[in-house]
């Protein structure tokens, strides 16, 4: 496609937001960065301009303006803020793609904030009924963006959503960021993806604990 798509990244200054922004700079996109802290956002912009000379990137004046200008909106914000942000952008997102990365996990990482048979992403879709909400990148760690290819294999990045065209569009975006897009199902599949990531976080924590206790070697099972 020759026409540039405009993408707003809300929470661009965070771990995921900045990794995604940098990974998309190589693509045919115009990026609108949204951060809460102007200094942090300017620092990110300067880094991107230094490292990616062809990047088409700018700082958006606010979340609503960025979402109005964009056709794709990436919410790289903590799960607990999605509701408030959805309210701020509701009027300008009809028919737009909203990518939610959220992992609805409590701060102590010990349990999930969502009930069984529900997901944070389906809740977001209910708040924004006329937008095309897509779950993506939730099982990808921010650090993975540094090396999305290991031994010649690209990491899989799972996508769930209800709109076929939107899923195709997000698949292209994920390919551009270096990962291998895998469409797993409609939006209800985000329940599985969110729980899968919860499990991965638990395993990660176990590894860290084991590492602490036994120097470098650790056991993951049991």
């Amino acid at each position: 496609m020759r026409t540039k798509q405009h993408i707003a990244i809300i929470g661009a200054t965070g771990s995921m937001g900045s990794a995604i922004s940098k990974s998309l700079c190589r693509g045919n996109y115009r990026l609108l960065l949204c951060g809460q802290d102007t200094k942090k956002t300017e620092k990110l912009l300067a880094e991107i301009r230094r490292d990616y000379h062809n990047a088409d990137v700018t700082i958006a004046p606010c979340i609503k303006e960025a979402s109005w200008e964009a056709e794709i909106i990436i919410l790289a914000v903590p799960c607990c803020t999605e509701k408030e942000i959805a309210e701020r952008i509701r009027k300008v997102v009809n028919q737009k793609i909203i990518i939610s990365l959220t992992n609805p996990v409590h701060k102590d990482l010990k349990s999930m904030v969502t009930d069984v048979n529900s997901s944070a992403t389906e809740a977001l879709q209910q708040l924004l009924p006329y937008a095309k909400v897509i779950k993506a990148f939730c099982t990808t760690f921010a650090a993975d963006f540094e090396t999305p290819v290991i031994d010649g294999n690209r990491f899989d990045a799972f996508i769930a959503g209800n709109d076929t065209e939107a899923l195709e569009n997000v698949s292209e975006l994920i390919s551009c960021s270096g990962f291998n897009p895998v469409i797993v199902g409609d939006l209800s599949a985000s329940q599985t993806l969110e729980r899968m990531q919860f499990l991965l976080i638990q395993l990660d924590l176990k590894m860290i604990m084991a590492e602490k206790q036994a120097g470098k070697s650790y056991i993951i099972n049991s």
Binding site: R2, T3, H6, R30, E69, K91, N94, Q95, K96, P129
Partner: protein, 194 residues
């Protein structure tokens, strides 16, 4: 955000609040900065654009890279590459913002859904297409029958509001004249009027 669109709609077809809500759910609202593109040639035009505020133009490029302006779309106008939209073939037009603009975008899938769901929308589209056809006939007539001087005068008469907002070279491109030819015509007319 959707005001101009629905005012235009209601001038042609009456709408209840519920009907407006149903249609609005399928319309995307977007801002676009001056000089940026909403469509580049060779992509497929999968949408119709309505200008709420600002000004867009569509153009094709000649062999030497010259811009041939097809249409100016100020507020309250629709713009698209209808050939590409209807056939799914590559677009031959570029659509670019001449000013910072606010747009309503109706995707092809939304358009098709609305045609099925809303009788009022279908009527609205039929009226738009008819009006566009008349406009096309008038432009064709003018282009084949008028002398360049008359073409320019007719443009200034009909589109004075656009002429104030765009540089001369764009008007020349729209009229199919070389910029120098247009300058000559303008001098001639100014001389006649003074």
């Amino acid at each position: 955000m959707y005001r101009v669109y629905f005012e235009n709609f209601r001038q042609k077809v009456a709408l209840t609040e519920e009907e407006q809500e149903l249609i609005q759910a399928h319309l995307m609202t977007r801002k676009i900065r001056k000089k940026l593109y909403i469509l580049r040639e060779k992509d497929i035009c999968k949408f119709v654009v309505f200008v709420e505020k600002g000004l867009l133009k569509s153009y094709s490029t000649g062999e030497n890279g010259a811009e041939h302006i097809i249409q100016f779309a100020p507020e309250n106008q629709f713009i698209l590459d209808i050939y590409s939209f209807l056939t799914g073939e590559q677009a031959t037009y570029n659509i670019q913002a001449v000013e910072d603009s606010e747009l309503i975008i109706i995707s092809k899938s939304s358009h098709e859904t609305l045609l099925k769901k809303s009788h009022k929308y279908e009527t609205f589209v039929r009226i738009l297409v008819t009006d566009a056809y008349i406009e096309l006939q008038q432009r064709l007539n003018a282009n084949i029958s008028l002398h360049p001087d008359e073409l320019y005068i007719a443009f200034m008469h009909k589109y004075a509001h656009i002429a104030q907002r765009v540089p001369q070279h764009m008007i020349a491109s729209y009229l199919g004249l070389a910029p120098e030819t247009l300058s000559r015509i303008r001098r001639k007319i100014a001389g006649r009027n003074s």
